[in-house]
Amino acid sequence: MKEIQQKVERLLLKTQKPARYIGGELGSVIKDRDKVDVRFAFCFPDVYDVGMSHLGMKILYGLKNQRENWWCERVFMPEKDFEQQMRENDIPLYALESLDPIKDFDFIGFTLQYELSYTNVLEMLDLAGLPVYSRDRKDLTPIIVGGGPCVCNPEPVADFFDLFIIGEGEEVNIELMELYERMKPSAPTKEEFLREAAKIEGIYVPSFYDVAYNDDGTVNSIVPNREGVPAKVRKRVIADFDSVYYPDSFVVPFTSIVHDRAVVEVLRGCIRGCRFCQAGFIYRPFREKKIETIEKQTKCLCEQTGYEQVSLSSLSTSDYTQIEKLLDTLADYTDSERINLSLPSLRIDKFSEELLEKIASVRKSGLTFAPEAGTQKLRDVINKNITEEEIMHTCKMAFEAGYGTVKLYFMLGLPEETDEDVLGIAELAHKVVDLYFATPREQRASTIQVSLSTATFVPKPFTPFEFEPQARPEEVNRRQKLISDAIRSKKIRFSYHEQKVSNLEAVLARGDRRICDVIYSAWKSGCTLDSWDEHFRPDLWEDAFNKCGIDRDFYVYRRRSYDEIMPWSHLDYLVSREFLISENKKAHEAKTTRNCCEGCSACGITTKYGGTYCKVRE
């Protein structure tokens, strides 16, 4: 540790934002390394500023460190400048608390939040001094673990990990580490440990499954190759969400990070079922915390961290059943302490006047809406159940309350999308601008800025659109141009996403094990930090696909049949295949499905998982 610290300190003054590499933040947990039995390196495969904003890490960090003889530490991907310095000076990847090299840890866990972070995983393993392929790591430790939303299809990175944690981590992480602590004294082999681990529900050991392919390239079968390994791995769900562990302290960074505030998770899951949205399906069912719990956690975190802003986090906070009462309860505390209460992810239809006022009473910032599609027909296709009337009503209230910036997010390349739907995006933006000018001058803000932003639709596993092809880049470009040509107002600013990024995401999201070697090859040729525009190298990725003889079009532009075995078919996210197929059919007929609050649609999740609105018994 001393040696690493000295080497690191020597480099810090030559480095951008050095506080990211030295630790020592308030709330970071320091233990005596001689008194701990299990050491876990929690890695976020992106830079500190991004990773430190991630709530899952804060939860699992606090949870694991509750045990006196376990020590969980944080590790992030270094920026390119520091990474180069580390390599030149023989500094292995180290954890921020102890500054010890992570290759000596018992576990190294990665949270996979987005596909474009996959090369960073390889980079971090390599920086740690470890072989990147699981098969080349013969020793029991470190055990390389993956979790997070992307592991709903972990196959493109299956060769690099020893095991994956499927679903919510609060219970299964503990079970895994307890198993390890029990077995460690008998010095098991890696194989022996993994076989025991595979018996824990929610643990998927990829090397215990063989994948066979058909002549046309599709998956033929995925079967266990060991005794006692489940044919299907079911995701873990916290049924009693109100009493699940929540940290009473956060690590408070010195340097500014993306979400620099206290965060309280108020609900998990989503009632909506928008057909493109992976989070809306893989985090089901909808569960929420009691008001008293949220209030207690808010106070506790604000007092410990000293943050002046607290965010009520979830996929859709306005779907909290007693949102107004919750805000009233919290406002008493936050107002007196001058704490800014922020609500991300509000839905347009639920945006009542009162709610708007409560947020505005702190500070008037911009409004952000995601109508996702430009016409009612297409919004019905994707099951985004909001109407133009609702959008206009909310904007009208916002303008009357003095808001002057509106951001509108849309997707391009959705199934069933026509030019009429595309032009509808520009039209909607014009209507919003007109609405501003129709607002009395005394009430409205002095100026209006409507930012229009489109992203390319990426079909994701475990959604009703998992069968859909992605639109071709030329076609998406043409649709982008349609929009920019249709914009007549100077008050509208239009921006869109890079096509090559979305295309790669589409491969990585629905790829199979054959993609592992492509990722390896791309990384080997220098691809890392792919989610950063300045570092993304589509040319190198292109070479990697060619070198491995992988036809990316097969993964991106092919419509999958309803009976195709998907690369992730051996994983069970509780939502049934039948439900996804029926939702896909309804999408093509532009028929909507009611949300969970309006009535259970029998998606496959039964009452035993604690869902607020679930009705089907097992």
């Binding site: 000295q6 030295i22 020592g24 308030l26 010195f254 410990q304 961290t305 000293g306």
Partner: protein
Amino acid sequence: MLMPKNQNLIIERWDYRLTFAKEGRARYISHLDLMRTMQRAIKRAGIPIWYTQGFNPHAYLMFPLALSLGTDSRIEILDIALTEDLPFDEVVEKLNSSMPEGLYFVSAARPVMKHTDIAFAEYIIEADFDIPVEEAYEKFKQFIHQDVIEVEKRTKPKKGRKAGVKLIDIKPHIDLINISADKEKLIVELRLPAGGEFNLNTSVVIDAFCSFAAADIVTQYTKRTKILTASGENFL
């Protein structure tokens, strides 16, 4: 109608001048980040901070003199204001109850002087170069006894003039207090101008020395030891 939230509301304020330390890992907190860190520390301490009056009330915090990244110090100054007259030791104790490693308060007092009274600061620099320490010692003596020590200074763009580089002579501003060497390191004590008027960082002097001696720094440890007024009194 937009109105400052607490307009016409006169809230009594009590000024405190806090002395704090920034050592170890905390040396790498930048000045901007330090501001945020201190705001949160005050919030956590639960002391009744005085808020500025205006459209955007914020906790009043003032650092009269910035400290360079990587420099150690036990004499840094932070001015705050409270709405209650709390005893000095209570303020220090409460603040220290939850501080990150390497950052802590040493004392509190009423401000005596104005920020603009700060004129100099003293530093002790221990550095190890890629040349033998005896040579570094000799060369530093030659360096410091030159008639002129010119360094490049970047100038800000002004009307009709682009940003550029100009040469300035820092020799008259360097006051060498002591120079010595042990087995490995050169140890230099300097008094340099500090504060709003004119500020000279130790790194400017050391960089100038490096190019004079054609040497590179291997390790360096710098500590600020005093903050002084024009007449050489300690800033209070």
